[in-house]
Symmetry: C2
Subunit: 428 residues, 2 copies
C-alpha cells in the first residue's frame, strides 16, 4: 500500500477505534458471528487462493511449514470453532477492578478498557490471522496486522472476507488494517501516537529487530531458552519423563527445554538414564565437562551455552547446588519457563523465589507454559518482559484500565487546606 493510502486507512481506523472501544459486548459478539459466517460463505475462494500460495511456495518450503500454510476445510472448521469459543468468553472490558469512596459521595472506580490499537506482525500460519482478529474484536481493540508473505493470497482472501462480514455490523470494519510490505512494517514501528502495543510473532531475530527499532511497547519474547533442573532430591524417573516430554512433545516450541541442569550429587545415577533415553529418542546432547565424566556426548561449546535449539538437541550441565542452578538460569536463560524436579519443598521454595522467569514450574513439564493449558481461554502470545502481561497472555493482556471519578462538584482546595479529609472507604 502506498503512503497516502496507508494514512487514509489510518485516519479511518482512528474513528473506527473510538466506536469499537465504546461498543457493547453484544455488538462485539455479533460482529464475531458475522465474521465466522463470512468465512464460511467465501470458503471456496479462500481455499483456491490458498492453493495458489501453496503452488507458489511448494518447492521452497519444508513440509512442516507447508502444512502450517495449508488452509482447508479442516482448518476453516478450526478457526470457526475458535471464533465461537471467543464469543463465549466473558467480556474482558468494563470490569470494575477497584471501587472506593474517597469522601462522602466522591466515588472512584478502576475499570478495564481496551488498550486502543494493537500492531500484530506474524508468520505464515493463515489461521493465526483469524484468531488475532477475533481476539481484537472481543477486547475492543483496533488492529493493524501483517501476515507472512508465503500466505499473501490466503491472508488477503481471509481479510477481505472478514471485512465483508463486518460491513453489516454497526461497528464497521475500519478498525482493521492489513499491511503487506516491509515498508509498511517500518512505517508502523514509528507510529508511537497511534499504536499502543506491538505483538511480533516470528523468528527470534525478527522479534529482536522489532524491539530495537520502535518506541512502542512490545509484548512477546525473542528467545525461549527453558531449563529443567534435576535437584539432588529429585525422583529420577520423574525427572527423566519431564525432561523428555519438555523436549520431545514439540521440539520447535518456545516452551521446549533447551538445557538440563543436573545436581552433581545425582549425576552418576541420572546421566546414564538420560543418555540412554536420548539415544532412543534421537536427542543430541551437548555435555559440559563434568557431565562427560559420566556419559559420552558432544562437548558443550561456549557458543552453545544459552542456545535455543528448537530441535532435538539440548545442553546438559552439572550444578553443585540449587543456588548454583539458579545462578546458571539467571545468567543463561531467557526468563521464559524454568522447571525444577525435586521432592524437597526447601529446594522448590528457593528455586521459585529466586528464578526470575515468567513461569516457574515444580515437577511438571515446561510444555505446560501455554495460554490454553493455563486456562486463559485464549492466547495472545507469551511475554518475557516484566511490564504489563507476563508469561502466557490471554485477553486480559489486551486490556488496560482507566480511573473514573464521579462527584457532586467536589474540589480539592478544602482537602489541601485541611478543612476536609478523605475517608477512603472500599466499596465491594
Amino acid at each position: 500500500m502506498d503512503e497516502k493510502e496507508f494514512f487514509s486507512e489510518l485516519e479511518a481506523l482512528r474513528e473506527g477505534r473510538m466506536r469499537l472501544s465504546s461498543s457493547t459486548l453484544k455488538e462485539r459478539n455479533d460482529a464475531l458471528n458475522l465474521v465466522s459466517d463470512a468465512l464460511e460463505k467465501n470458503k471456496d475462494w479462500i481455499f483456491s487462493e490458498n492453493r495458489k500460495d501453496i503452488e507458489k511456495w511448494k518447492d521452497k518450503l519444508s513440509e512442516s511449514v507447508l502444512k502450517r500454510l495449508l488452509f482447508d476445510e479442516k482448518k476453516l472448521a478450526g478457526v470457526r470453532l475458535g471464533i465461537s469459543d471467543v464469543v463465549k468468553l466473558p467480556d474482558p472490558v468494563g470490569k470494575v477492578t477497584e471501587k472506593r469512596e474517597l469522601d462522602e459521595g466522591l466515588v472512584l472506580q478502576r475499570v478495564t478498557v481496551p488498550i486502543g490499537t494493537i500492531g500484530m506482525i506474524f508468520e505464515s500460519r493463515p489461521d493465526a490471522l483469524v484468531q488475532i482478529v477475533a481476539l481484537a474484536i472481543k477486547s475492543g481493540n483496533a488492529l493493524i496486522l501483517k501476515g507472512g508473505k508465503e500466505a499473501e493470497r490466503t491472508n488477503r482472501a481471509l481479510f477481505e472476507s472478514i471485512r465483508e462480514g463486518l460491513s453489516s455490523s454497526p461497528l464497521g470494519s475500519s478498525f482493521l488494517i492489513q499491511i503487506e510490505s516491509h515498508e509498511d512494517v517500518d512505517r508502523i514501528l514509528k507510529l508511537d501516537g497511534d499504536i499502543d502495543l506491538l505483538i511480533p510473532r516470528g523468528s527470534n531475530e525478527f522479534v529482536r529487530k522489532v524491539m530495537a527499532n520502535t518506541n512502542i511497547p512490545v509484548l512477546g519474547h525473542a528467545d525461549g531458552v527453558c531449563s529443567v533442573y534435576v535437584d539432588e532430591f529429585a525422583n529420577l524417573e520423574m525427572a527423566l519423563e519431564i525432561v523428555i516430554d519438555s523436549k520431545c512433545d514439540y521440539p520447535a516450541a518456545c516452551n521446549a527445554v533447551e538445557c538440563v541442569i543436573v545436581n552433581g550429587k545425582v549425576k552418576d545415577a541420572f546421566l546414564p538414564m538420560l543418555g540412554e533415553k536420548a539415544r532412543e529418542m534421537g536427542i543430541v546432547l551437548h555435555l559440559d565437562e563434568s557431565a562427560r565424566d559420566v556419559i559420552d556426548g558432544a562437548p558443550l561449546k561456549d557458543s552453545d551455552v544459552g542456545r535455543e535449539y528448537l530441535s532435538l538437541e539440548m545442553n546438559v550441565v552439572v550444578a553443585k547446588s540449587v543456588e548454583d542452578a539458579v545462578l546458571y538460569i539467571q545468567k543463561h536463560g531467557s526468563k521464559h519457563t524454568d522447571a525444577i524436579v525435586t521432592d524437597s519443598i526447601e529446594s522448590w521454595r528457593y528455586f521459585s523465589s529466586h528464578v526470575d522467569s515468567a513461569d516457574v514450574f515444580w515437577n511438571a513439564s515446561t510444555r505446560f507454559a501455554d495460554g490454553f493449558r493455563f486456562g486463559l481461554g485464549a492466547e495472545v502470545g507469551i511475554a518475557t518482559g516484566k511490564i504489563h502481561a507476563r508469561g502466557p497472555v490471554g485477553l486480559e493482556g489486551l486490556t488496560t484500565y482507566k480511573w473514573l471519578l464521579s462527584g457532586h462538584g467536589d474540589v480539592v482546595s478544602p482537602y489541601t487546606s485541611g478543612v476536609k479529609k478523605f475517608h477512603h472507604r472500599e466499596i465491594k
Copy 2:
C-alpha cells in the same frame, strides 16, 4: 562515577537484588525502620550539607524552587512519617492473584513479585529521594537513582545515611546505586538487560528525551494537558468552582487544567462568569474566536493549542456538543486527566466511554488525580501510557507477577494426544 566503578556497583546490585527480591516482609520493614533511624542519627550532617547546596544555588533559583530544595527538621519529620506510613502498607509482593487447578493435582498460581530493578531519575526535591528508596525497599526492587544537581550534597548525605542504616540489615545496601552525572544517565538508558523499568520525573522535555532514547519501558508522563468540559447540562456555578479549583489549587501541577471546553449552548451564560472570576484570580485566558464573541481576552494562537501552561493561564474553546468536546480532547489532550461537568448521565456516559485518558472525572476537579487522594497509599508517579500501570501509580505499579505451577511429574504428551483433558477448576 567512572565506568569501572559503575559496573562494579552494578555487579553488586545484581546479587543484592536477588536477596532483596526473595526477602520477607519483616526483613523489608525492618530495613525501612533502620533507614529512618539512620536519617535521624545523621540529621545534623544532612542539614549542613543541605545548607551548602542552598548557599551555592540561592542566587540562581527561584524562591519556590529553593523552598523545595530545603531539607530541614520539618522535612525530615515528613520523610520519616512517610517511611512509617510505607511500613504500615500491606505487602505488595507474594499476593496470589489467580489460582487454578489445571487437572488433578496440577495447581497454577499467579503471584505478585517485584519488577526487579527500577531506574529513577528525578529533580531537585531531596525528600523525593527518601520516598523513592522507601517504596523500592517495600516492593523488593533494586534501585538506580539520580537526583537533581542542585541537591547534590544533600542527596549524597541522604544516600550515605540510608546505606549506613541498611548496613545492619541482612538485606545489605548493594541493591541501591546513586548516580550523579549525565554520562551515568546515558549509561543506564542502555542497560536493557539490567533495568526493568525507568521512572523519569522532571520537565516534559526531559521525560520525552528519556522515552526517545531507551528501549527500557518508561513509566510516567511527559505532558499533563488536562481539560474540563462544561456541558450544556452543567450546573454552571459548579462548573465555575471546578474550573477554578482545577487551575488555582496548584497551577504548576501536572493535573491542573489547561483548557476549558464550553458547550456553545451555555457559552453566553458561562463565559461572563468565568471571565470575571479569572480577572479576580489573575488567570490569563486564551480564547478561541467563538469565545471572544462573548468576552474579551487574548486570542488563542495555533501554538497555544494543546499547550501545558503550568501557570495561571489557560485556553477557553467552544464546542458544539459532547462529541465535539471529546474529539478536541482526543486530538489536543495528553491522556492524563479530563473532566466533564454535567447533570446529564447520557453526557457522562458518552464522555467517559470515549475519552481515552487515564483519569476521566465527572463533576469533580482534575486535581483529584493523585495517588494519595485516590487512596493508593503511596504514589510512584502518574503514567499516561497504556501498558502496565496507568494514572496515579501506587506500590502495585512496582510489581509484576510470575506463574507458579506445581505438579507430581505431570507431562504434556497425554494432553497433546487427547488421553487426558484439563478441567481448569478455579480455587478460591
